[in-house]
Subunit: 326 residues, 2 copies
């Protein structure tokens, strides 16, 4: 399955998911609440989480008819967390459009996030029972814990690789893993099958973020739409930098460390130097190798499933994550 | 059961509830997250919601051993909503102590509210299954919807009695009703028994707020700790005022309406006049009669239960709500 075929398939399926959400959200009574939630959900987004729930459920046969309603609860949880993140960060834009807090202010947006969050959990419980709820409870707990870990890390200059992955696991991977595992659990998947999907989701989320880290240094701004070296300028320790620092000799290590304590302007000026040092110690290739190895493990786990279109899509998605250039 | 006996009993039971929460919250890993949540929960509060869950469950025999864990989820939901309310209102003090957002700022407090909210729902699902979750989903949805209705009302000068009760039902009564109904449902209560507890909880919450409205005009500041006429000064339409406006003649109605459009200072100066008009049209006695009638209905519903200490406590609580002077 080529990337183009995969994206066309996902686009088609996401239209169906959007229809399920539109119908489900009709229960909202307040016009303002409905407006904010529609803005949060229908202002872009690739529906990756609900698609994963549907694909995972389809690995072991036709999924129960109510699976799409379980699936959308993961999109809701994702959207709810973005609403609160944007309030917390005072973010003005997301995906090129004004954020909900820019348009409506903090007050109704915090409440709309709460609504979506509660609605998602009630829906997941109704459709997926205590199994889905246990998965979601763990994932949402991990999401908040990782935000606190990240706040704590913000006071440190150097972040360990272990710390980096711990944040990432909560921030990105936990909800994706729950979306995958809830899907197969909803179609009576065995413990072994559930573990395979949990690993797939976790590793897909981690690899996606590592590739993001790489694109930040190596991507083509014309494609990514972002300036090169953003993370470094902000003093953000991502995996290529962590890998390089670990192997650098005392002098290069000292150079990178002092840059991390310098001003953003200084880091911006010294980006080429930092890039050279990171390359010298294989920061980029080691990070890419780790993303490849995580996805290799994810795909190896799918070997227990027979051939199925859903398996092809999940495999295609793993390859897409690695090959994407934007 | 006298008020003093009731309060002593509640005090004793709330110590047990606190112990269950302390043990349950030990799973939190981030020290800062744990600090904020402990501050939100153990900085006062009468544990009314979990007490109601326990009492409701005890009406039909000894409750299952895990009922206290279901009960605390309602205290968590309450505390989570207060955390977000205080962020939204930029509140500095609550119960005489600094709010969490005053101490730690907005960012971690929004996240701590999210954590508590998600944890409460996961816990309720684990212990109370889909029955408890359906009740909580409805209640949390109603809570947010009522906040939006209240925001909408803030642009109106006059609020109808229907509108007043609609806000109150979502804001206060919905969660209390869910706490009561979840308790008896957890002990295999019948549909009839569940309805009785839902009515009890709803009406108790409504009556509690009406008495609050009355104390604002008629209370002794030395006991309530609040200045008389606060609500009127803020231009807040509460039940005594709504009742009076409905019966006032054109001239008095015009007088009250123009005061509601005046400045807070002007309303403060004219408080005695407003009070006289409200008294003339029985605003206070009609509001009190409505609180009495709501509690009467609540207690009449309990007639289907045999004598039990829990029934005595629920009856005592209804009387306490009506007779409290602070």
């Amino acid at each position: 399955m080529t990337n183009t075929e995969l994206l066309a398939l996902f686009k088609k399926k996401s239209v169906a998911i959007d229809a399920v959400m539109t119908e489900d959200l009709a229960i909202i009574q307040s016009p303002l609440l409905a407006k904010i939630i529609h803005h949060a959900i229908f202002q872009g987004g690739k529906r990756i989480r609900p698609l994963l729930t549907l694909l995972a459920a389809s690995l072991v046969g036709p999924p129960p008819a109510d699976t799409p309603r379980l699936a959308i609860s993961f999109e809701y949880l994702h959207a709810a967390s973005l609403l609160h993140d944007d309030v917390i960060d005072h973010a003005i834009l997301r995906r090129g459009a004004e954020t909900a807090n820019t348009i409506w202010g903090m007050e109704p947006v915090i409440l709309a996030g709460d609504y979506l969050h509660a609605h998602a959990m009630a829906l997941a419980s109704e459709v997926g029972g205590s199994t889905a709820m246990a998965l979601i409870g763990r994932a949402t707990g991990a999401m908040v814990e990782s935000e606190f870990l990240q706040m704590h890390n913000a006071h440190e200059i150097l972040i360990s690789e272990e710390n980096y992955f711990q944040v990432l696991r909560g921030k990105t991977a936990a909800l994706i893993a729950a979306a995958c595992e809830a899907g197969i659990a909803h179609n009576q998947g065995s413990a072994e099958q559930r573990l395979a999907l949990r690993t797939y989701g976790t590793n897909l989320g981690l690899a996606f973020q590592i590739v993001d880290d790489l694109l930040d240094y190596l991507g083509d701004p014309a494609k990514t739409g972002k300036a090169v070296g953003n993370d470094f300028q902000e003093g953000k320790m991502t995996l290529p930098l962590i890998k390089a620092l670990k192997r650098a000799d005392a002098k290069d290590r000292e150079m990178l460390t002092s840059l991390l304590q310098a001003t953003p302007q200084e880091r911006s000026r010294q980006l080429a130097l930092a890039h050279t040092i990171m390359e010298k110690y294989q920061g980029f290739s080691l990070a890419r190798a780790q993303a490849e190895s995580l996805l290799g493990e994810a795909l190896a786990g799918l070997a227990i499933f027979g051939e199925a279109p859903a398996k092809e899509s999940l495999t295609g998605l793993a390859h897409y994550v690695l090959s994407r250039d934007k």
